[in-house]
Amino acid sequence: MKVVLVGFASVLMLTVIAGLIRVERGPNPADRMLAAQLFGTTGVAILLLLAEAMEIPALRDVALVFALLAAMAAVAFVKRAWHPGPHEKGESS
């Protein structure tokens, strides 16, 4: 049954890779950033599955760090990286 859990982790890994396509395409910095957020949530799920499958409880601590990380990256992005200047507004559709 542990094999099935790793199988589900692989499915989640595939959704993460799909999210990378959004990082590539953008077109807006916010689009890329939300894909990084996607890795946070999906990464937590992958880690919880692996903690059970690999029988390493400490992986749940790593999941805890992943959970905080997405929020930290989003705050750093909004507060630090995204100063909207007058010359860069709007999104090409």
Binding site: P57, R60, D61, L64
Partner: protein
């Protein structure tokens, strides 16, 4: 409104969190006790007073409502995403909030983002702007419901004004009707 610090209450909360994080390992307290102390000091420095309290019965009602609504929200958006026709018809709205305290507004905005088809996109004075996935959704009714539940959770009374929803032409607000 009564403001209180209650250091002991905070320390107990942090201790419980540590107990959970350490998975009840007794050896964990070697690190746990100093860090519960540090966390308490840090929280007293960062938010010296707090003027809100949570009503247990209201919290239970809120939690039930929240779980129910976020399940509906997840199913709704998942179906819209995978249907080949992708049935979305987005619209910007502005909602005049009846909740006044800031902590209640933050919880309100976070809850709204997990409800079916609504996403909070910021505050403007007493109003919240939101992005709605489908303009046919009963947005006003659900927003009023959430406000009532949040008020119930914190034991607040809703202000008589507001509670109305305006459809906006533009993302930055502008003309809303």
């Amino acid at each position: 409104m009564r403001r209180h610090t209650r250091p002991l209450e905070r320390a107990v909360v942090f201790a419980v969190v540590w107990w959970v994080v350490a998975e009840a390992d007794p050896e964990g307290w070697v690190f746990g006790i100093p860090f519960v102390g540090l966390a308490t000091v840090a929280s007293l420095k960062l938010t010296p007073t707090r003027s809100w309290r949570i009503r247990p019965a209201g919290a239970l009602r809120y939690a039930w409502y929240f779980v129910h609504q976020s399940v509906m929200g997840g199913i709704d958006v998942a179906l819209r995403a995978i249907k080949p026709s992708m049935p979305i018809d987005p619209m910007i709205f502005r909602y005049r909030m009846r909740l006044v305290p800031e902590h209640a507004r933050v919880l309100f905005a976070d809850t709204v983002s997990l409800l079916p088809g609504t996403l909070s996109t910021g505050f403007e004075g007493d109003s919240m702007t939101l992005h709605v996935l489908d303009r046919e959704l009963p947005v006003e009714q659900s927003l009023r419901d959430v406000e009532r539940r949040v008020a119930d959770l914190f034991g607040l009374t809703l202000s008589a004004e507001g509670g109305n929803l305006l459809a906006c032409e533009n993302i930055t607000g502008g003309e809303c009707r």
